[in-house]
């Protein structure tokens, strides 16, 4: 079982939860399961099936763009974090 950590601005679409348990062997599958459970998150995270450019997805604190993007495998117990990207500079 994997958990997706939901940032406060998205919790309304995640039934108020800070973490949602999901199933899946890759980040893509896990996020698909997240969206199945919380359909209101779909349009927030994806645009025409592609992950929106200004949201960062991390597996165990590593950005998936440095791994295998949505194909990144996830082991049991690893956490996925969603973090807004427009910050800093």
């Amino acid at each position: 079982m994997t958990k997706v950590q939901i940032p406060p601005p998205l919790r309304e679409q995640a039934n108020g939860l800070a973490e949602v348990p999901v199933a899946g062997a890759t980040v893509g599958e896990a996020l698909a399961d997240l969206v199945r459970q919380c359909p209101a998150l779909d349009s927030k995270l994806f645009d025409s099936g592609k992950l929106r450019p200004h949201i960062n997805v991390l597996v165990n604190d590593e950005d998936i763009r440095y791994l295998d993007d949505l194909e990144t495998p996830i082991a049991d117990g690893q956490a996925i974090a969603l973090i807004p990207a427009v910050a800093g500079g």
Partner: protein
């Protein structure tokens, strides 16, 4: 004085938000930007009005997003625009200017501009604790300005930052947290801290207001040129915000009637090769930058591997007819020395980067030699001295005797 800002707007989808401490659109995570009532500004602003005010960034008050008068940093800005003739001769160009924010007040970088707006806004929103993620200059500025404003500050920096930048933050009594990671990791952590503790992070939840402060560098350049725009501007890029805000400043000056001619300025971005996501994006004609996981350059102030405004600055550079380049650490050091030795300006590594990139673009023929060029120098070399240790000659140490001096001086005496 009236607040002419109307609210915030998503740069991607256009959704509007009230003025509040939030930096991204809750629909698509796009960046939020301040929108203004330009018609009202136009009716209430004039060159005479601006010129009658003190020489600080706040003389353009109508174009900045705060209510009332600035409560933090009222004396920031008003830095010199220097006609750089000796450097121009060495570069083989006709007209060269340096906008010298290395002498900005109070902490010797352009970041004082953004912090003045951000912390004035933080006070307005009622924050008592403020913070930032920083590569150094912002850390110094938030710490100093927070001290002056009586705010508590939490400053997060990569732990391998230059010593001078860490000391220059701690001295103001700020809580400094060195994070064992890259700037992008620091930044991400701060996003999470901002959510959890609801502090006013200048470059996170206050970012839309903060970023507007950079515009004042553009207003000052245009005013000091006699209310006109230069043909070419070269600016350093870290997060990629400054270059866009300078261009926005020019566009606004035209929009509110302070400059008659429309903006035709070409914008050029400068990065270090060891962290070049934006220049790479421009040069390879990609829509989106490829993030750099582990930046590797002496130019730590520009070492942002995943720039928040990467997409927007790349697009702006291309649309303006400009270009971007990146340079090696050796070229950066060489240009720091050249700037110091031709114009008496000791810029930090980012300034060396900007000059080195300008030279490269001139040599490539991308910037013509017979048109006016402005180089934006954003930080002070006193903060990044370590990288020059091997590049400058050590002073001669002699006994306090004329004989000892004669022994090392080769010139002919006037009196024997």
């Amino acid at each position: 004085m009236a607040d002419y800002s109307l609210g915030l707007q998503c740069k991607l989808c256009g959704k509007r938000y009230d003025k509040q401490p939030i930096n991204f659109c809750t629909d698509d995570f796009g960046p939020l930007e301040v929108v203004y009532d330009y018609a009202a500004i136009k009716a209430n602003i004039s060159r005479e009005k601006i010129q009658s005010r003190p020489r600080s960034m706040w003389r353009y008050r109508e174009l900045l997003p705060i209510a009332g008068n600035p409560t933090v940093g009222p004396q920031v800005g008003g830095t010199p625009l220097i006609r750089a003739n000796r450097l121009a001769d060495e570069l083989g160009v006709e007209a060269l200017w340096i906008k010298n924010d290395a002498v900005n007040f109070p902490t010797l970088s352009f970041k004082d501009r953004v912090v003045s707006v951000a912390l004035s806004k933080a006070v307005e929103f009622g924050f008592r604790i403020v913070g930032c993620a920083s590569t150094g200059n912002l850390a110094n500025s938030v710490a100093a300005n927070a001290a002056q404003a009586g705010l508590e500050a939490y400053i997060f920096v990569p732990s391998d930052l230059e010593k001078a930048k860490i000391l220059g933050t701690s001295v103001f009594g700020a809580n400094v947290i060195g994070v064992n990671g890259t700037y992008d990791e620091v930044n991400r952590l701060c996003t999470q801290v901002a959510f959890k503790y609801k502090w006013g992070f200048v470059n996170i939840n206050l970012r839309p207001f903060y970023a507007e402060g950079s515009k004042t560098m553009g207003y000052e350049i245009a005013e000091d040129l006699g209310w006109r725009f230069p043909k070419h501007v070269v600016a350093p890029m870290a997060g990629g915000s400054l270059i866009g805000k300078i261009h926005k400043a020019f566009t606004e000056l035209h929009e509110v009637g302070l400059v008659d001619a429309p903006v035709t300025t070409k914008m050029y971005g400068a990065q270090a090769t060891g962290c070049n996501p934006i220049s790479d994006c421009v040069k390879s004609d990609r829509d989106r930058h490829k993030p750099i996981r582990k930046p590797n350059t002496i130019c730590k102030s520009l070492a942002i591997g995943d720039p928040a405004d990467g997409i927007f600055s790349s697009k702006l550079i291309r649309n303006s007819g400009g270009w971007a380049e990146d340079v090696s650490d050796d070229e950066i050091v060489e240009s720091m020395l050249q700037l110091a030795r031709t114009e008496g300006v000791f810029a930090e590594t980012a300034g060396g980067t900007t000059l080195a990139v300008a030279k490269k673009l001139i040599e490539q023929g991308r910037i013509p030699r017979d048109e006016e060029i402005v180089l934006c120098i954003t930080g002070n070399g006193l903060k990044t001295q370590d990288c020059l240790a091997d590049a400058v000659e050590r002073p001669a140490n002699i006994k306090p005797s004329l004989e000892a001096f004669d022994a090392i001086y080769a010139g002919d005496p006037v009196l024997v």
